[in-house]
């Protein structure tokens, strides 16, 4: 089953970097995954977060409040 990565963040530089890192990580890992960028505050808040950016894998918040690095995301995808 293909995984879903969500990057939550209202569009600051950190959030953009996380998003491009996620795209790159999917490419590197070869895992079938969809990357979705969530920029809407209301939708973001339904996930109960406090700091942005947040990286979610299959609806579970994995990395919060900092830029997720490519190798980290690759690891998460392989779990």
């Amino acid at each position: 089953m293909s995984k879903v990565i969500k990057v939550l963040g209202p569009g600051c530089p950190k959030c953009k970097t996380t998003y491009t890192n996620a795209l790159e990580a999917v490419k590197q890992s070869g895992v079938a995954a969809e990357v979705i960028k969530v920029e809407d505050i209301m939708e973001m808040m339904s996930y109960n977060i406090l700091t942005t950016p947040v990286l979610m894998v299959d609806e579970v918040a994995k990395i919060k409040g900092r830029i997720a690095q490519i190798d980290e995301i690759v690891q998460l995808l392989k779990e």
Partner: protein, 325 residues
């Protein structure tokens, strides 16, 4: 502590470029090299230390603590302190605001956080330390935290909940003081260090251009604007200079990195330090981009009240500094 940087600047400008040490150009260039090096070093150091603090700061736990404990007014102070410690990223302030409100933290306490968060941030602290020394930095940080405490308390007393946007009001009604549970990240210090270093460098690189431009303008003014220029021409002792400086600064959006070097020259040329600090607080603490972000959670009227109260407090602290310093 910074003697070696001064020696390096002297050597570079006066010996290598052989520019006359008594010329305006020589002074300005020397000032520029010295200040840029000093500030970049300090910036990296402070941002790095704050990065370590933040990696271990359990934001969720702090939020839950504020939610569950009645602290007899101290909660305003804690929220303000908390705002000072967390790194300011304008995009995190709205999610945090909502997280607070939903957690059942009173609006006033949330405002305390919101006021201090941009006002006291690691870049501003590093710039202040480099440009004005420890005493002024301590005064800046302390007054920023107190300003958040009292500003939030006053806003809380005004009972402004009805001025939040509708969907936030809904969240408010559903608010529960239950602990939100979060997955803890399990990483060792060693694993985190590269990421902390990387993001510290990222922040420094991000503001570097502003630092260089700010110091450049400062250096040019330093060498060419006569001593006591502002004292003579702006009548800087007059009472109205504080409100004027603050009101001019509110719509201005410059980050601390660019504004502090310019302010330092203002002070060197005769502007009272209290007026300068007030100007700086208004520039970094309140801005149009921040207001735009807050529009998602507050009505225009609430933003206006929020800005007005903070502006008033900044003006008052400007008067206070001028009287004390």
């Amino acid at each position: 502590m910074f003697d070696w940087i001064q020696n390096f600047a002297d050597w570079l400008i006066y010996s290598i470029f052989s520019i006359d040490a008594s010329s305006h150009l020589g002074k300005a260039l020397n000032f520029f090299v010295y200040d840029t090096l000093k500030i970049v070093l300090l910036l990296f150091l402070i941002v790095f230390i704050m990065g370590i603090v933040n990696a271990y700061l359990p934001i969720e736990k702090l939020k839950n603590y504020l939610t569950q404990n009645k602290l007899f007014g101290l909660e305003y102070f804690f929220a303000s302190l908390f705002g000072a410690i967390t790194p300011f990223c304008s995009c995190s302030s709205v999610p945090l605001f909502i997280g607070f409100v939903r957690g059942g933290i009173p609006l006033g306490v949330t405002f305390s956080f919101l006021i201090t968060s941009p006002l006291v941030n690691e870049v501003a602290v590093a710039m202040f330390l480099g440009m004005f020394g420890i005493k002024a930095t301590v005064i800046y940080v302390t007054s920023g935290i107190l300003l958040g405490t009292f500003g939030g308390w006053l806003l809380g007393k005004m009972k402004l909940e009805h001025l939040l946007t509708d969907w936030v009001k809904q969240l408010l009604n559903q608010s529960s003081s239950q602990n939100d549970s979060f997955e803890e990240e399990q990483l060792t210090f060693r694993q985190r260090l590269p990421e902390i270093t990387r993001s510290a460098w990222g922040i420094v690189r991000g503001v570097l251009l502003y630092v260089v431009i700010g110091i450049g303008i400062g250096a040019a003014m330093h060498g060419y604007v006569p001593e006591q220029f502002f004292a003579t021409y702006l009548g800087s002792g007059a009472w109205w200079t504080v409100p004027l400086a603050v009101i001019l600064a509110v719509p201005m959006y410059a980050n601390a990195a660019g504004i502090v070097p310019v302010i330092q020259v203002f002070v060197a040329k005769g502007v009272p330090i209290g007026t300068a600090i007030a100007f700086m607080m208004a520039t970094v603490g309140l801005s149009i981009p921040e207001a735009t972000l807050l529009k998602k959670v507050m009505t225009f009227k609430l933003i206006a009240i929020f800005f007005a109260v903070v502006t008033l407090f900044i003006i008052l602290s400007g008067f206070l500094f001028n009287a004390l310093l």
